[in-house]
């Protein structure tokens, strides 16, 4: 009886120890799996962070460069514009002082002829005004001026730079042939000409 009881006790304890060992073994295996999963997850998350950082870095790089390129393009455009405007001022200066040049009489006659033709009236009224020009300088105009027309000579240059304005007697048809309006009419050609002369292409 005593011997079989001892065996039973030993067996109970042996089963318990076996079960305990199995429990610990399972826990260790699970622990190993948890750590392995954690390492893989950490690796995956790290790779995602780095991949996103690379995309973000490229975006930052592009943003900095495109912003700089934009600013520099504007600087170049501003400089070109400044140069063109400087030349246009030179052109205006030259035009406003045309009365001192040999071209003046021929130019004034041509401007009057163009304006009279544009108004297409038997009795055109023509105003003419250039800087530093008096009646004496405009004798040649009478040769191209129609007999029924009226010539008004302004002492001051018309539209600041000078030129000719023709109307019909009622003032319904007006043709502005001043330097300023010619500059405006020829704006595109003028800019192209200046640009190609200075910058080429």
């Amino acid at each position: 009886m005593s011997e079989s009881l001892e065996k039973l006790q030993t067996r109970i304890l042996s089963d318990a120890k076996h079960k305990a060992e199995e429990t610990i073994k399972d826990a260790q295996a699970k622990s190993q799996q948890i750590l392995e999963d954690a390492k893989q997850r950490a690796q995956r998350e790290s790779e995602e962070i780095i991949a996103k950082a690379n995309v973000e870095a490229e975006s930052i790089r592009r943003s900095i460069l495109s912003s700089k390129v934009r600013v520099n393009r504007l600087r170049i455009l501003d400089e070109k514009n400044r140069i063109v405007q400087d030349i246009i001022h030179g052109v205006e200066d030259r035009l406003s002082s045309i009365s001192k040049s040999e071209q003046f009489e021929e130019t004034a006659q041509r401007f009057v002829t163009e304006a009279v033709k544009a108004v297409d009236s038997d009795h055109p009224v023509v105003r003419i005004g250039f800087r530093d020009v008096s009646k004496r300088n405009l004798d040649g105009i009478s040769r191209v001026f129609p007999k029924g027309g009226k010539l008004v000579i302004d002492e001051k240059p018309i539209d600041d730079l000078g030129g000719v304005v023709a109307t019909d007697p009622e003032g319904r048809v007006v043709f502005n042939n001043t330097f300023k309006s010619r500059l405006e009419r020829l704006d595109n050609q003028l800019l192209t000409l200046i640009s190609s002369t200075v910058f080429g292409g």
Partner: protein
């Protein structure tokens, strides 16, 4: 040994066995709990390292882009200087051609 004593012995042994199993179970819980904590530490450390790398990547990208931007500034300055030089050389010709256009167009 009487029957009662035998039963007592068995009961004690079973209690001892239960303790062994319970202790193992508690230890197993502790092992898993510790490994979960260690797993979280591993994750946090890896993320922290990745974040540092991220900061470094961004810093390098910014610094590299700023260097490239400086190069763009230099190139722009060269273009501006060449325009200014061209303007000085060709301004007179451009004015003459423009005046001719306005007078004769």
């Amino acid at each position: 040994m009487s029957g009662i004593d035998a039963v007592k012995k068995i009961v004690e042994t079973e209690a001892q066995a239960r303790r062994i199993v319970d202790e193992a179970s508690a230890k197993a819980q502790q092992i898993i709990s510790e490994s979960r904590e260690q797993a979280e530490r591993i994750r946090q450390e890896a993320i922290a390292r990745a974040q540092q790398q991220r900061e470094e990547i961004l810093r390098e990208a910014k610094s590299k882009a700023e260097a490239e931007a400086l190069q763009s500034d230099k190139e722009t300055e060269q273009v501006l200087n060449s325009y200014r030089k061209l303007s000085e050389e060709r301004k007179s010709a451009a004015v003459s051609k423009a005046v001719e256009l306005i007078l004769n167009a």
